[in-house]
Amino acid sequence: MSRRLTANLVVGLILFSFYATSYSALLQQRSEVSLTSSSSSGIWNLPPVALLALAGEFKGLMADYLTLEVGAQLGTELVRNPAGGFRVVRKHYDWPGIHRLFVASQTLDPSFAQTYIVAQGWLPWKPADMVAKTQEILKIATKNRDWDWQPAHAMGFNAYYFLKQPGEAGKIFLEAAKTPNAPPFLTILGARLAQKGGETEAAIIIMKSMLADKNSEEPGYTDMIERLLALEGVLVIEQAANSYEKARGRKPSSLTELTASGLLAALPPNPYNLDYCLDTAGVIYFDKPDCQASIPDRSSR
């Protein structure tokens, strides 16, 4: 082997060793960095204006990238077993950082479905427990996806399940039902929850406005009519019960007492052919056959 070739090889080997040593040391140092720092540094921590300015005409692309970043941060962490294979490590999530990622993605593209769907899948639940912040994300998604009923549906779910506000949930569902191609169940469910949460009058108004735009051949029309009649019946009874309470200083103990008092001539017809129920908590139902005490939640009032 010639001298020049040997010299070249030696120099190349030295340079390569230097490169390999420095790079593996760098990788070693990076893997020792704790996970909490991974979401505290990144462009998603920039103020919204700065983020929008940085993205320029590539806002959508950057929003797409940020949702991938969310996925990486929420993903499972696998650690190699010395004996072979992998084991799942209990990951510590930086929820405020992850929330900032969602907000950043939504700032850049408020209409992106992946953002709100993944946010709904993680943030309102424990251990994140960020219901109010999730509602903000869903509100923006609702506003910017006027063809999509699902963000509002998720909002309504959170209002009912986490915030224990059936009335509010009902109103949200009824608003969501106005979205084109929204499934009919939203109206029915929304009406029930609104009434349950003491928003009977609001539910009736919203349903009437929705029915005005529908024709009788549309699917779900009959169901909506029936639910409207049921709510109107409930409203009549509620108004009579309120008058009774004002006059006698207590709620009526039964519907019979109410009709007997003269404040309600007769019970309105129930489109479901069931008896109206006035339970011991004073809540009126159009379809509660056992008619026992409910767990009233008028917290929306």
Binding site: L52, E57, L68, S111, I117
Partner: protein, 271 residues
Amino acid sequence: MPVRNIWFLALATCTEGIRHRALWAIVCLAVLLTMANLGVTTLYTWDLGKVSVEFGLSSVAFTGLLLVFFLGMKILADDLERSRIFMLLSRPVSIWQYLTGKFLGLVMILLLATIILGLSAALSMHYVLWQYPAYVPPNFSWVTYIMALACQWLSLVVVLAVSVLCFSFASQPFVALLLAVSTYLVGQNMELLRRVVTENAHAGALTGQENLVLALSWIFPNLSLFDKKYAAAYGMAFSGQEFMLLCLYGISYSALLIYFATLLFRRKELA
């Protein structure tokens, strides 16, 4: 005669650009990027249609910018640095014919690149939308996509006009490039700047400077108006009237810049 000269210069510039290896390297890279669209969309679970459309249009935008800032400015700078311009200006060709011809030639190159990349993106998009019909945005329209592509091209034409203007007065091509890139960044954020100043009471040094920002929005190109990726991605309404107005704005602004470039270039010492 002036129109003839402009046409011949434009054709020569376009031919020169098309045969440039750099152009085809950039276009090949971009085609690969748009094909990568197919892989990128599989990383998402929802709104695959929007990801695909946006990725495709962003590839066109990115490639177009590379063409304007590198190939376009190289072609212009080479004319001066390598004294090729003498071959042309020793003929009965005026400065404005020369600049307009070069500009139109580069516009033709951009148009060709946009068509190739737009088709490539459309192919990958079509596949994704066909593969995942449930994720096609409800009002998605190929017409909107084509209009968004046209707006993207117009945006690049405006940036090119800015580059020609910067080239006409800058002492060095690198300075011209920096100025053009800076103008592009300002132009992309013009609407954001306007909103920040008019809607935000705490806009730092720009608080209360609505008139200044308004003046700036007239001087710098409002490139964010041409950004219709969002509309194409979500099938948002995009009226023909708005499209026509954008075309008029883009053409008139570019024509004005080329006019100023001519006035400045006339004062330049060419040797």
